[in-house]
């Protein structure tokens, strides 16, 4: 059932056109942050308003929408955003990655590989990868124009000198198409390799900061590193306790107050699909 009194997918058509223009520019200049006239949405800034505006601008009546937060379709924020589009656009929604034409996400990329024709929409809290090193936007714009990313390399080097490795675990900076430094949004660095040469179109929306950017399909996305300190992703000592997967990002679940814990897939759809297919992890085998 859709909510009456509002345009399809909430935003008026003029606003959507403005957004699509910004998105086209973003696709044409991979990794470049395009300013846009971000609107106040009926959800708070910082809760996915950028992603919601991007989704609203690209959604058509035949689209099938999947929304995840922390890899799960069932967390309250994902439920809320999916419900918003079900109410305002009446589009079909799904939990299944292969069925979705548009996937809006916060903090994860699905474990199931994406396909050509799919669009990923990332919610971005902080689009400027240099922001923590240089808060002034007037300066960071200049640094991007000159492709002067020395700051970031120095920061990564200082990590190595101090800790022996790079101490960034999420929102790990990437270089897009050998040109623009880009914040991949706070996905774990585990997901960074999925950005590279993805067959899906990847759109990033930052509502509060009023920026969109994009990675077109099959575009080179390189995580910053050094020859003697190559980029690496997180690894766990044990596979998922529910489905036994050893190739997925695992969340730690605290079981009691005496140190009991288990590790399970953060991607709930991936995990339940594997369990349905007969895979079982240690917790399931113990219970059986």
């Amino acid at each position: 059932m859709t909510t009456s009194g509002y345009n399809f997918a909430y935003l008026d058509e003029q606003t959507k056109r403005m957004l699509r223009r910004a998105l086209l520019k973003a696709v044409a200049i991979p990794g470049y942050q395009v300013p846009f006239g971000s609107r106040e949405m009926p959800l708070p800034y910082g809760w996915g308003t950028g992603g919601i505006q991007v989704t609203a601008a690209i959604l058509g009546t035949n689209d099938v929408l999947k929304v995840i937060d922390q890899g799960s379709d069932d967390t309250v924020n994902a439920v809320n955003i999916r419900r918003f589009f079900a109410r305002t656009a009446g589009v079909a929604t799904t939990n299944r990655t292969p069925e979705a034409t548009v996937i809006q996400t916060r903090h994860r990329i699905p474990e199931t590989p994406l396909a050509a024709g799919q669009i990923m929409v990332y919610q971005v809290p902080e689009p400027e990868p240099l922001h923590r090193l240089e808060p002034r936007e007037a300066v960071t714009r200049k640094l991007h124009a000159l492709a002067d990313y020395g700051f970031m390399h120095v920061k990564l080097y200082e990590d190595i000198a101090r800790y022996g490795h790079i101490a960034t675990t999420y929102d790990y900076p990437v270089l897009v198409n050998d040109r623009y430094l880009m914040a991949p949004s706070p996905i774990p660095k585990f997901d960074n390799p999925k950005l590279n040469h993805s067959p899906a179109l990847q759109l990033f929306g930052a509502g509060r900061e009023k920026r969109v950017y994009a990675v077109p399909p099959y575009t080179k996305v390189e995580s910053l590193d050094f020859e003697d300190h190559p980029f690496s992703v997180q690894q766990w000592d044990a596979p998922c306790a529910l489905c036994g997967a050893s190739d997925s990002f695992l969340d730690e679940v605290v079981l009691d107050d005496v140190g009991g814990r288990m590790f399970v897939c953060s991607d709930s759809e991936y995990c339940s699909n594997r369990q349905a297919a007969g895979h079982a992890g240690s917790a399931v085998k113990e219970a059986a």
Binding site: F36, T75, R83, H107, P125, E137, T169, P186
Partner: protein
């Protein structure tokens, strides 16, 4: 046995019901009407209209009711509604010299044309709790009928300008149309028109603190309240099919013109400078704080050293909006399992190697 988080939708729907119940409170107490809020909480309504960037007393009162009196939430409700409204056109600039004055004071001149008018103000109420209001109040005495105020009250700054003692206020070259910040993203450097627009929507508490900081040595601007005026001004538009201006209604405004010292430079003789504040409704604190911050943000243009937060345009303008700030501060309560897991793994790894020589020390 661990079960993945489910049932978010039911939980959300239940939270709606709990919220509605909590908002209504004890049903033995009569429900507050929107008309009551509009009439009897007019200052709350004014703030919600100002920061919500929408002059509509009924909708602002509705937002306050729906938000159970939380001003920032009410402002957010009004903004989210405002986004959906089409633009029919733009009014002509309002002329505050032609304001139907209800309050007008100057801290710089004892006597001035038009006189000082206190109007409805809390300034000299002595802040004693009025317990008759607790007992549902008594009929108040109708205010004494003062003689009608002159229709045109010259602005104090215009009186100073006559002598050339204050900087002239002239439109920039070509008088370009101002940016509409609710349609265009804020960009830096931001011109004064854009800055003022941002400050007009800015959180009152934030402006108050910043303005206060300029009085305590963080970029002192030697301010005097040249004039504060409050009253009704007419809004005019020029419909294309008519080609001349017509009045579409009145709105209440509070305007503050701060007069500030300026030593002059090699190219400019010493003269006073201006800080400007304007807000919907009766909103004197907001207008005054805004004028202090406006003046301190002009440091660069007036070749003053930029050392304090209230002088830094990016710092001030990027953090002034309560809807943006409230959303982002509170987004921290959303799940961050994945990022936290990543940090946990890193901290455990770093603790495991803590105290062992770093690679640099090893090679040294």
């Amino acid at each position: 046995m661990y079960v993945a988080v489910k049932g978010g939708e039911t939980a959300i729907l239940n939270s709606y019901a709990l919220l509605a119940d909590a908002r209504r409170g004890d049903t033995d107490v009569p429900e507050l009407s929107v008309a009551q809020i509009r009439q009897q909480m007019r200052l709350a309504v004014a703030r919600v209209m100002s920061e919500g960037s929408l002059y509509d007393e009924d909708l602002a009162a509705l937002a306050i009711k729906q938000a159970a009196g939380d001003q920032v939430e009410a402002i957010f409700l009004l903004r989210a509604y405002r986004t959906t409204l089409p633009r029919f056109g733009y009014t002509l600039p309002v002329d505050t010299a032609r304001m139907g004055i209800r309050r007008r004071i100057s801290a710089t001149f004892k006597e001035l044309p038009g006189g000082q008018v206190l109007g409805p103000t809390y300034d000299y109420t002595q802040r004693l709790l009025d317990f008759t209001l607790l007992a549902n109040g008594v009929a108040t005495e109708p205010p004494a009928q003062a003689e009608a105020l002159p229709a045109d009250m010259p602005r104090v700054t215009d009186l100073l300008a006559g002598e050339g003692l204050i900087e002239p206020e002239t439109p920039p070259d070509g008088d370009p149309a101002p940016v509409d910040l609710s349609r265009e993203p804020l960009k830096f450097p931001a011109d004064r028109a854009t800055r003022l627009q941002n400050l007009a929507r800015a959180d009152e508490g934030f402006l108050l603190a910043l303005g206060y900081s300029t009085q305590r040595g963080y970029s002192h601007t030697h301010p005097f309240a040249g004039e504060i005026r409050m009253g009704e001004v007419a809004l005019e538009i020029v419909p294309e099919e008519l080609g001349f201006a017509i009045e579409i209604g009145d709105i209440t405004l509070t305007e503050c013109q701060m007069v500030n010292q300026f030593a002059g430079s090699s190219t400019a003789p010493p003269q006073f400078t201006r800080g400007y504040g304007l807000a919907f409704g009766e909103a004197e604190r907001k207008a005054m704080a805004m004028s202090l911050v406006d003046r301190s943000l002009r440091s660069q243009e007036l070749a003053e050293a930029i050392k304090s937060p209230a002088q830094q345009a990016e710092f001030v303008l990027s953090h002034s909006d309560s809807v943006e700030a409230s959303g982002f501060v509170q987004h921290l309560k959303l799940p961050h399992y994945v990022d936290f897991q990543s940090e946990l793994e890193l901290v455990r790894r770093m603790r495991a190697t803590h105290g062992q020589p770093t690679p640099e020390e090893e090679t040294a």
